[in-house]
Symmetry: C2
């Protein structure tokens, strides 16, 4: 997803500046909301000129798209990391489930959530973030189907795995305000039982 007019950097300095601007965009989002994520505000936060932002991303639209892409890449890497969860027999399902639940905690999840809330009212962000949510959701779904060796064509399996992913999202929300770690472990372990029953 490279917006028309935005350039891919080709050297170390360019990659460094590109990354710094993306991180500044996410910083402005987290601290001041997307209404403030103008080219000028982000350039100031990144310590670069407005011209540098325009060189890399063309305009606000390109800059926001790159930030959405960055969050999506992070979330997809975390899903891919599920494949490296130990394959100890017996506790395998539990390890996968706990890991999938923890993927919906912490700063990366909070940033994705802030992005969703901001996108709800923003005509530029909304279709992009909605598409990101669908893609991340579908990838997480199929990674779980494969890792738990379930039948992804069985409607009962599909609805249960989706219920689990919604539950993990809901636990992410609960974890933002309250320290919810003990409850989360109980719920995750119950999910491991419910998902194991599908096999």
């Amino acid at each position: 997803m490279s917006p028309a007019g935005a350039r891919q950097p080709r050297n170390e300095n360019g990659i460094y500046t590109h990354r710094r601007i993306v991180e500044a965009t996410l910083d402005v989002l987290a601290s001041r909301g997307w209404g403030h994520a103008s080219v000028a505000e982000v350039a100031e936060r990144a310590g670069v000129t407005r011209g540098a932002v325009q060189h890399h991303f063309k305009d606000r639209d390109g800059m926001l798209t790159a930030a959405v892409q960055h969050i999506m890449d992070q979330r997809i890497s975390r899903i891919e990391a599920l494949r490296h969860v130990g394959r100890a027999p017996g506790d395998h399902t539990r390890a996968i489930v706990r890991h999938a639940v923890e993927m919906h905690q912490g700063p990366a999840f909070t940033a994705a959530l802030q992005l969703c809330m901001a996108a709800a009212d923003d005509p530029v962000l909304r279709p992009r973030v909605a598409a990101m949510e669908l893609e991340v959701g579908a990838r997480g779904f199929w990674a779980l189907i494969e890792l738990l060796q379930l039948d992804g064509n069985d409607p009962k399996v599909r609805a249960t795995v989706q219920a689990f992913l919604d539950s993990a999202r809901g636990l992410g929300l609960a974890g933002i305000l309250n320290d919810d770690a003990d409850r989360r472990t109980h719920v995750a372990d119950r999910w491991a039982e419910m998902l194991a029953e599908l096999r």
Copy 2:
């Protein structure tokens, strides 16, 4: 939860102004974020003087507390409304579950979500909103235990009902950006099966 110094209005005009200020506070939240929810900004939005806001709520703290209370009251009313869901045998569980899922959709849920996100960084709001989340969560949990005639002391039942409530919250999040109604019905109906198996 009536903050020290805030007055309960005693006549029609007072009740009207009180309500108007609470609604203006929620409006400012939704459109501009809580960082902007100052007494001056809310007074302007409500079309009243700053003195009127101070008369009713003492200060920003009292005003925000009243807004949190208002959202909590709305959410608790929706939980109480679960008790009025038809008692047709057979589909009773499904009706309750669908209703509980729909409770986590729409403007009241979005407002609660915005409040959670804003509270994460706000020292005044955070403990209040965290307490609200725990109270609303506990009330929702016990209403479901009672309505579905489950054993609230059984750890398996407790973890499953909590997983369901987290799932409903996650479906609420998904519904903010994508029209998710079909998927939501499938997941809700699968939940009705999983919860019915607990009896």
